[in-house]
Symmetry: C2
């Protein structure tokens, strides 16, 4: 039985089978201190690797953009990793996104590594696992790391915060969702795409988003708003260019903003780890009598908490 350190070492050598095992260790929280020693290139400067997040509601066309981003990077000889994160998976058993991608045209390409991440049933755990897997793939030398996640809810935004560049793919039907989530989306999105632009409402949604973006602060990146029809391959190039421009900005004028965001993400990851560890410890130390008393409403959760301190 190889140790976690062994698995990580072999994974960093680029052995795909060991990479898969290392991701599983992270998923199941069986690697900890070993991850501290990873040499994460992105911690030194933005640019290599480029971590691009892609989120949006189901059916918005995220996979098409993932596919095109892979194609572009491969044409330049870059190695690409895709992390498909499915927040619905504590219920569904996961892997909806990853399976779909895996079956597509990059399957036989050894320069492309695709992995799905399923939640282990805890809110918050998915963002921290994603951040750690991205660090691993960074240290393993991938040039482009794509993080795809479905949805535009709170948990999805948490996952996408790991990215340097976040692409939010919407459809004309997303209007109501955008109203609800507007401030959150504006905070996270570096590029907006209104896909399926041949449907009614596309231009209106794009105009609304543009107006909101323009009201943002002057000194920061202003997310371009694109309309596209990914299926017909219309407007996809512009989005890829936007992503490249955003990375360039991160390396130049936007470096301070980029550093602050990455720093915030590190502190958040630390706090997530603290919370997760405390939860796991409390669960494994939970006495059967205490659990029974909780379940029987004889002991309130707050009273049980007091007994811990």
């Amino acid at each position: 039985m190889p140790t976690a350190a062994d698995v990580l070492k072999r994974a960093l050598n680029g052995e795909r089978r060991w990479l898969a095992r290392a991701v599983t260790l992270i998923e199941h929280r069986r690697a900890g201190a070993e991850l501290a020693s990873l040499s994460v290139r992105r911690h030194r400067a933005p640019g290599v690797p480029h971590v691009v997040g892609i989120t949006g509601p189901p059916g918005a066309g995220k996979s098409t953009f993932v596919d095109r981003l892979i194609g572009h990077a491969r044409a330049k000889g870059q190695r690409v990793a895709v992390v498909a994160v499915d927040p619905s998976s504590p219920f569904s058993g996961g892997a909806i996104l990853g399976d779909r991608i895996r079956m597509e045209r990059h399957t036989g390409d050894s320069g492309v590594y695709v992995r799905s991440l399923s939640s282990r049933g805890h809110l918050g755990g998915l963002s921290s696992a994603t951040a750690e897997v991205v660090n691993l793939l960074d240290a393993a030398g991938f040039d482009l790391i794509l993080v795809e996640t479905v949805g535009v809810g709170q948990s999805e935004l948490g996952v996408i915060e790991v990215a340097d560049t976040a692409i939010v793919v919407l459809t004309p039907e997303s209007g109501d969702t955008v109203q609800t989530m507007k401030a959150g989306l504006l905070e996270i999105a570096d590029v907006f795409v209104v896909n399926k632009a041949d449907r009614p409402g596309a231009d209106r949604l794009a105009r609304e988003l543009s107006r909101s973006v323009e009201m943002g602060p002057d000194d920061e990146w202003r997310a371009p708003v694109r309309t596209a029809s990914a299926l017909e391959r219309k407007g996809v190039e512009a989005v890829l260019e936007d992503a490249a421009n955003h990375l360039q900005w991160c390396c130049g004028d936007g470096k301070a903003v980029w550093r602050r965001r990455r720093g915030d993400a590190q502190v958040r990851l630390f706090l997530d780890l603290v919370a997760e560890r405390a939860r796991a410890q409390a669960l494994s130390n939970l006495e059967p009598e205490v659990a029974a008393a909780l379940r029987g409403f004889e002991l309130s959760p707050h009273a049980a908490l007091e007994t811990l301190s």
Copy 2:
């Protein structure tokens, strides 16, 4: 300055202003041990109060069902509380749902208490705060407690788990979301509503949901699937009847299932509280040098975690 215990005591006397202050204490985690002494009627038996959760994507028509449920309960002389939970609020500042409801026709009715809950920025925190506010409203003597939340993602399902009866309101356009979230929705929903049933795809979605429900285990409640057009008041009565039937089931054949679910929720709330407390403690104890080292990537989150233990 009244103590948390004072505020709770006055809130339990039904003084609306103090109820509001008590909810704020819970939101800001300034009540803890005091909550342990609440006399929560629902912990003794199902039925009083009836806690009904309503979730679904933005624009699905949730508010109409909330409004009708309030109307029904008021006609029977019951006191009703609405907790509107907005998972987008760490970004938007919240209160989207509550504001909308508050402006509607029950504003002047002293038998209806409406309160919105905004996230305090932590995943998971919203579910535990919701559970605690529901306990408070239970102890304060409300007969019907409605928990409305927008979305069908993981965090929304976490919020809705507090309910005895969960109504999931979808629209024909929700088809893709349903595919992604199916197992999660099936686990949580006690009643499915396909609203805006005049739009194409409504019957197909309803049929698909029915088929999935029928594949479930025999001994449990089978969620009825209704089509409705809430705006035209079509199909709403049937949904209210379903909710009432489900409560009856919880009090009879389904009592063991109900007990298990409520017990699971108590254990989860306990673990949430443990995780939240650990996170808050780590944040307030975070030394400036450690924070700077984390932000500067000189100290990894895992290494920082090790220094704590």
